[in-house]
Amino acid sequence: MSNHHTHVEGEYIPETYIPHAESHGTKSLWRTFWLLLAITIVDFIIYFVAPASLFRNIVFVAFGIVKAVFIVGIFMHLNYEAKFLRYMIILPAIVFLSYLVWLLLLEGNYVSIAKYF
């Protein structure tokens, strides 16, 4: 089956529809692997070179997010999927998680102030 089909009555059956998959080659896969490995090594170096600080933690989280983008985009192939599918997966995660992180870390901070300060 192909995703370039012109519509024929009765051709499309949702439960068995398989779009034609094409190989994009292994170059981008290996590039992603080396990138993930490099970021992990840089994480390791920063951990021992820089003293613990808020900035260092922000760098670690940012590196984690960069790794996540490449795993989801290249390894999980989401970059090549239809636009609606991309947004259906990405938007709920970004919107709800950023809200949840903000809300709960703030709350944890308040608990600490109430208990110990």
Binding site: N3, Y17, L36, I71, F84, L100
Partner: protein, 279 residues
């Protein structure tokens, strides 16, 4: 049915309506949108996401699973923040996870867990290579790459078992841990360099925050359970590959679906690694 599908076509004489329809067509169909006439979009008979039913369901499952892991990690963050300023502060990961096999008594923080990260990233790349080989219908390559992926998963599980053994041996329990250090011991710990000899007396250790050990078991355990089920599913799919099930079917989409699950396990590990070991 055709009557309902095309029931809005009578509005085609309005130029704006035609324009909106073709815009929607471009949005919904990324591929060959220029050649698709707008009326065929409204006639149905297409996958709006241009993806199979099974793969779409896998994505939705993974999104819900992402929220499960996120709730655990965000809860971890909130509890950890709530201990700021406590007399029993949150333990430094470097003082807890500093072991490496066959390097007894050495202070080697982050080394073992970096190895585990490498193993998981590598098994991820072999998985995606299996998927790529599946697109070329190369049964032999799919089988070989899946074997490598399964071996990587087993190696990771072995590492995690070793990590848990160390943690329990040192006194980590679901409801208790003694990873708190007295102020003298803490000063000694902060002066430790990479590879230095380290030995803690019982008097150095004091009870630390209970959620530290509890959440360690729950979060890494839940992740490890995902790895374990991923390995089992990979073995089942690999057997199907070897038996030629997908060769007869004409496509290797099942490999893609388990691949999605396997990469998700890697994705979760990135954040467990960041929040448990780095920060």
């Amino acid at each position: 049915m055709a009557l309902f599908r095309n029931c809005l076509d009578f509005l085609d004489f309005i130029p704006l309506f035609r324009k909106v329809k073709s815009k929607l067509a471009t949005l919904i169909l990324m591929s060959n949108s220029a050649t698709v006439s707008s009326s065929s979009i409204w006639a149905g008979g297409r996958s709006p996401f241009n993806v199979s039913y099974g793969k779409l369901m896998m994505w939705i499952f993974l999104l819900s699973d992402a929220f499960t892991f996120s709730s655990l990690l965000v809860g971890y963050g909130a509890i950890r923040f709530s201990y700021a300023g406590s007399s029993t502060p949150w333990p430094e990961p470097a003082n807890v996870f500093n072991h490496f096999p066959f390097m007894h008594g050495m202070h080697l923080p982050l080394l073992f867990v970096s190895l585990m990260t490498f193993i998981l990233i590598f098994s991820s790349v072999t998985m995606v290579l299996a998927v790529e080989a599946g697109h070329r219908n190369s049964k032999k390559e799919v089988s070989n790459y899946m074997i490598l992926t399964i071996l990587g998963g087993l190696a990771f599980l072995g590492c995690q078992a070793w990590e848990w053994t160390q943690f329990i041996h040192e006194g980590g329990r679901l409801s208790h841990n003694n990873f708190g250090l007295t102020s003298e011991a803490l000063a000694k710990a902060n002066a430790l360099g990479f590879g230095d000899h380290v030995h803690w007396e019982a008097a150095d250790r004091v009870p630390g925050p209970v959620p530290f050990a509890s959440l360690f078991f729950i979060v890494t355990g839940f992740h490890g359970f995902h790895v374990l089920s991923g390995v089992v599913i990979n073995i089942i799919i690999w057997l199907n590959v070897v038996r030629g099930t997908y060769e007869r079917r004409g496509h290797y989409e099942m490999v893609e679906k388990v691949g999605l699950y396997w990469h998700f396990v890697d994705l979760v590990w990135v954040f467990v690694f960041t929040f448990y070991y780095l920060i």
